[in-house]
């Protein structure tokens, strides 16, 4: 029994996410002591546009921090450091003298920069900046969003060039406010967040002058790029006044860190509405020729940076929601497993949920969803099975792409996120990957990663080995499928994928 009574000191992690802001207090074993969470408004001014009110977010962050500290029954004296993790790429510009945002934040899902990205690709196409940044020109990333704001908010470019305007992803916004705002707030970002702007050179880890010129973004607005784990400053007010702010990591990188994927070849996959898989590729960035992103995994203080390959799947948990809400075949998400378990196999049906095109490794926006292999024999239970298999096969495709790019075979996959409660999915994943799938005991790997990085920076934990020792296996699924069957099924899946492509003619007038 290790639960006598939880004793300090503690680390507080702030997770500024897409739908809510949270604060979790962790103890030295990485256990959760208290949590508070608050949602913020999703603003949709036009189809495809998504905004957040950055001022509302900062208010919520202050509230959840104060409340989590109060719930834990502790004071700032008990907290050694604050770690930050955040929704990536979401972009805010604010006035450095008043602290007021000049416009709502443009959220990563916002597609208003689609046309701008095409234009920036010029004759080269979407890979124009890939060698420097590891990213294709796509609307997610922050650089084009800054450009859009400078072009569309009246007078903003002049103010920016005069040095009155600051840019930040949500880490920078939170840290600047937390460390005092107009009263001496520090304007910094970390390498992982900077690697999602399309403005940072992956090799020098500094802003790339040529890209800044091409994108027409004045250097004066940019924060200083720091490591993911070091003391940036101290909290200026609130329940944690005086506590060092000591880490920042984009959410997926934080989950990689929280899952203690510290060795080359270790990978994690987070199963939510969509899925993000990241693999640690060591101290050199690996170029992807198979549709993955190259990104910074983390950097601890002065140590060399650790890079990662990233693959995302647009539709995973949201396919189960679609079965529930649009098809009405199940009444709760968990029931998909019950329905799928009522049959032995997929009955020959394959479901490729290319609802808005195919993402990694294909990147085909002319693709649309397909259910292939239908016969009279197929029931809704077979479709349920095909739904779960779709998530597993898409993971397999990303894992194959990672192996091709990095030359490293996946030895085991660490998983987290809501869908890990689906036992059949986890077993199927292990069968299709032909590798063990492991779920850790703390589900909050994102916050934990930010807490770990902050704790390392202030010496709360001595090194990454101590963090590894904290990692606990809650469950492990091992492959049981024979190789012939796996190969046959994979072939059928790939055939189904082929049938999604080219559904839309040209690019014209989709949706």
């Amino acid at each position: 029994m290790t639960d006598a009574h939880i004793t300090g000191p503690f680390i507080a992690a702030i997770d500024q996410g897409t739908t809510s802001s949270r604060c979790i207090v962790f103890d030295t074993d990485g256990r959760i002591v208290s949590v508070d969470q608050k949602e913020h408004e999703q603003i949709f001014p036009k189809p495809g546009w998504v905004e957040h009110n950055a001022a509302e977010i900062w208010t919520n962050v202050q509230e959840v921090v104060d409340s989590a500290i109060a719930k834990a029954g502790i004071t700032s004296a008990d907290v050694k450091a604050i770690g930050i993790t955040n929704q990536r790429e979401t972009t805010v510009l604010w006035d450095k003298n008043t602290g007021e945002p000049v416009h709502n934040a443009l959220v990563w899902q916002d597609t208003r920069t689609d046309a701008l990205c095409k234009e920036l690709g010029r004759n080269v196409g979407q890979d124009r900046f890939r060698r420097e940044t590891g990213l294709p020109l796509a609307s997610y990333f922050a650089g084009p969003k800054i450009r859009w704001l400078l072009d569309n908010v009246e007078g903003l470019r002049e103010r920016a060039e005069r040095g009155e305007i600051l840019f930040g992803t949500m880490d920078s916004w939170v840290i600047w406010n937390l460390t005092g705002g107009v009263d001496g707030g520090v304007h910094v970002t970390d390498v992982t967040n900077a690697s999602r702007t399309m403005l940072m050179n992956l090799h020098t880890l500094d802003w790339d002058q040529k890209i800044l010129e091409s994108m027409d973004v004045p250097a004066a607005v940019l924060p200083e790029i720091r490591s993911s784990a070091e003391v940036y400053g101290s909290a200026a007010g609130g329940a944690l006044a005086g506590v060092p702010v000591a880490s920042a990591l984009g959410d997926q990188q934080a989950a990689l860190f929280g899952q203690t994927c510290f060795a080359e070849g270790e990978a994690k996959s987070t199963y939510g509405t969509g899925t993000f898989m990241l693999m640690n590729t060591g101290s050199e960035p690996v170029n992807s020729y198979n549709g993955l992103l190259t990104t910074v995994g983390y950097r601890i203080g002065d140590q060399p940076p650790v890079y990662a390959l990233e693959g995302s799947i647009a539709v995973t948990g949201s396919l189960v929601q679609w079965m529930r809400d649009q098809m009405g075949l199940i009444s709760t998400a968990a029931e998909i497993e019950t329905l799928a378990m009522s049959v032995e196999d997929n009955g020959g049906a394959y479901f490729v949920p290319a609802f808005s095109g195919l993402f990694a490794p294909y990147w085909r926006d002319d693709a649309r969803g397909v259910i292939a292999g239908l016969t009279r024999y197929v029931t809704k239970a077979h479709i349920a099975r095909a739904v779960l298999e779709a998530t597993a096969w898409q993971t397999r495709e990303i894992s194959d792409a990672m192996t091709k790019d990095s030359g490293v075979e996946l030895t085991a996959l660490k998983v987290d996120g809501g869908m890990t409660s689906n036992n059949l999915l986890m077993q199927t994943l292990s069968d299709f990957l032909d590798a063990p799938v492991v779920r850790p005991m703390v589900a909050e790997t994102t916050c934990l990663g930010a807490a770990y990085a902050a704790g390392l920076a202030v010496g709360y934990w001595p090194d990454t080995d101590a963090l590894r020792a904290n990692w606990r296996r809650a469950a492990e699924w091992t492959p049981h499928m024979d190789a012939d069957k796996r190969d046959r099924e994979y072939k059928s899946w790939l055939k189904a994928v082929e049938r999604t492509m080219g559904w839309l003619e040209d690019d014209a007038d989709e949706e």
């Binding site: 029994m1 639960d3 074993d29 409660s421 689906n422 005991m441 589900a443 606990r472 296996r473 809650a474």
Partner: protein, 254 residues
């Protein structure tokens, strides 16, 4: 027909009326459709409303079918829903107790393991989801037999096999063991199923206090017991976990 209870017949007619055509009806519509006095109709509607079979729209005062009817139709809790709800609490229990955690439900005269959290050490362990455990000798089985009348009647029918010298097989002894479990709210298995292994379980109930499953920790008897007694802090941890999951089911189902 004469022997049937008139008010129940009228209540059934009202439910059928609300189920067809226009879904929301006012008191006078209902009364006139069924040729009842308004007062009589209102009395029946009020009773149906108190039972949750009928709801009244606060704005218009009209009546419609209530959520309880839906619940009757789907009263069984999906085991995968149970697992999803239990996930964080069972992880927490494994961490705080240092032992493995199992979630079990009644299935074909036994206990079906629907969720398993490994003991938080680095030892190799195999996931036991889908495995069956006996009803009469395990802590999970005893809790289910004590609280779920269906499990109880099943455990009376099965052969209560002696797995170890400590397995309780006699009917009277077994019944008094279940009484004991009901009285204190939890059950134990100290080397009654496996030599050297002890477990502790508590019931999970839904919002209507119906037992839907049980949660247990299982480990070496030396760790679960202290001087021959079950360790009270472990009992408290298991019961806290069962209560937390039950609360989650009650608060969020419908």
């Amino acid at each position: 027909m004469a022997k049937n209870i008139q008010s129940l017949e009228r209540a059934a007619a009202m439910l059928r009326l609300l189920a067809g055509g226009e879904r929301r009806l006012g008191l006078s519509d209902i009364a006139s459709s069924l040729e009842l006095a308004k007062g009589t109709a209102h009395g029946i509607l009020r009773t149906l409303q108190a039972e949750g079979f009928v709801e009244q729209d606060p704005a218009s005062g009209r009546y419609q079918l209530g959520a309880e009817l839906l619940r009757l139709g789907n009263s069984y809790l999906d085991v995968h829903e149970l697992r999803a709800r239990a996930l964080v609490w069972t992880d927490d229990l494994a961490r705080s107790s240092g032992e493995s955690v199992h979630l079990g439900v009644l299935h074909q005269h036994g206990v079906l393991i629907v969720h398993h959290v490994f003991r938080p050490d680095d030892s190799r362990q195999v996931l036991e989801v889908g495995a069956m455990q006996p009803l009469h000798s395990t802590a999970l089985g005893k809790v289910l037999s004590a609280y779920d009348p269906v499990a109880h009647s099943e455990v009376m029918e099965v052969e209560r096999k002696a797995f170890t010298p400590r397995t309780v097989t006699g009917l009277a002894d077994f019944e008094s063991m279940l009484d004991h479990a009901r009285a204190r709210g939890w059950a134990a298995d100290v080397e009654e199923t496996w030599e050297g292994v002890a477990s502790l379980a508590a019931p999970i109930t839904d919002r209507r206090r119906m037992p839907v499953g049980a949660v247990a920790i299982t480990g070496a008897v030396e760790r679960i017991c202290d001087d021959g007694e079950l360790r009270s802090e472990l009992v408290a941890a298991v019961r806290d976990c069962a209560r937390a999951v039950s609360r989650d089911l009650g608060a969020q189902r419908f």
